[in-house]
Amino acid sequence: MSESAVSRPSTGTISGKSIVLDNVTKQYPGQSSPAVDGVTLEIPAGKIVMLVGPSGCGKTTTLKMINRLIEPTKGRIVLGDEDVTSIGGDELRRRIGYVIQAGGLFPHMTVAANIAIVPKMLGWDKGRIAARVDELLELVSLDPAQYRDRFPKELSGGQQQRVGVARALAADPPVLLMDEPFGAVDPITRQRLQDELLSIQEEVQKTIVIVTHDFDEAVKLGDWIVVFTEGARIVQYDTPERILAEPANAFVENFIGSGAGLKQLTLRRVGEVTLADAVTVHAGEAAASAIEKMERADHNHVVVLDDRERPVQWLSRRQLARLDTLTDVPEDKLPVVGQGATLNDALDTMLVSSAGAALVTGRRDVFLGVITVETVMDAITAARASAAASIGGPVGTNSDAIPTVAPDAPTSAGSSMSQAHDD
């Protein structure tokens, strides 16, 4: 799993614009109930907002009303500080990137021609378009020289999807809309594309709205998640942490599926929790001095490091007693996790090694400390507590709905955002 959205450092400057759907309704003629019923949704600039819900809940309709592929029956859409409800649909769409499943590339045009569509419509000159195409292909990790002149059918599904993202970003729109973008690729490619989207977002800082039916994807990618039910009624609009910790009702709980706790583990990284100390000795020292150190610290294990501070062995009192001097022969199946790993990975390592703890390494595999099952438990408890305490953020309601936030939660706008930066 990749890093969680909220803990992502902001390296670029926000180039996205906020989006506000103000009481937007879509009523199709001949249907008794509206497909989207009076949605008011505030999408903060530079964030990734995931729209999730069962099929037919109106999440895609909601997305398509943002760029007016579907014209709202009622309501206002505000992009940045401009009301775009009545400007020309085509003009609006040129300012909003749009990516669909499998990219939706034009099969009769080369990769470069596909990417160049919007810049061409905007009247850019040839040199600028060519430079932009290459820049975008680099951004989505495709070698321009190799892929520029290929046709979509000569690309794999994942590559097509990347070109689709490049095409949507071509004219540097502040907003990117994605409709089930990773639905048509295999799980491994999907994971890679998700990781790439996050790293692209780190760079471009767009406002991204993604429709998905995969809750795990929502947790992984989203800064905020909107859970919809029939008629695009917003059941909960919250951070992934809070949705996992405090699902608004049984519907959300069901939607999260089993293992909410385990999913929370994927939101935190080993480097973000406080590690336990360990007694360290270096290879070549006498076992007796190691035992002495261990007793002074009142520990039962020592970690043996090699000359570059990398852990090689993890010895118990009993093992030490049988040794004279310590060697740097690496121990088999030493439970080691990197500090970039998620708590989920760490727990997995612990379970496999049956040690109930794992060694944590940092850059160049230097030993940092020990993570234990207790550390993980504490981190979860803390996360749940802080998620429960943090409340506020963007608005998301339906016109005639009761407030969607849990009634017992205190209101202090923005605290969830500050929580986002203190890890």
Partner: protein, 213 residues
Amino acid sequence: MADFLGSRFDQIAFASWQHLSLVVQCLLLATAIAIAVAAVVYRSRPLSSVANTVTAIGLTIPAFALVGLLVAPFGFGVPPALAVVTFFAILPILRNAIVGLTGINQSVVESARGLGMSRSSIFLRVELPLAWPVILGGIRVSAQMVMGIAAIAAYVLGPGLGGFIFSGLSRLGGANSLESVLTGVIGVVVLALLLDLLLVGLGRLTTPRGIRV
């Protein structure tokens, strides 16, 4: 037969050229009309099925009868021939154009809309190029068919190889009558094959590489 061909070579060559020219011009006109009509109807299911029904019925009209009927409004000569050949040429092209345009993957059209392309530029830059191979298939069918229909135009004194067929048939048993008919028929077949070859070449040149099979 050789004598017949030798003595009338210039006449045959001229008639062949006239025949081919009539067919090609009618095909161009028919393609333009068919695409224009398809552009109007393809987005609406009811209109498309009306158009398909009309083409199906149109193809059952005996060409000979239609040529005869058109003498009243158009008189004799080139105009009725042009009208009949174009009418029949439109039908297969229109049919294929509708099939081609409605068969385009809707996700491609949706992403084109999502990029902010206007209706007309989606049609010209996305839908038409993607439907082109199918439309071209219709043009080829049309070309084969109207080669024969153009021969009937000779009935109303239209241009082309039909003249040899009709004059031969009208004095069947007489000198060179069979040769005359055969010249007309074989000429039409040769021209049809030639034109088909040209259309295949045109298809190669005009089909974008990305959608060639």
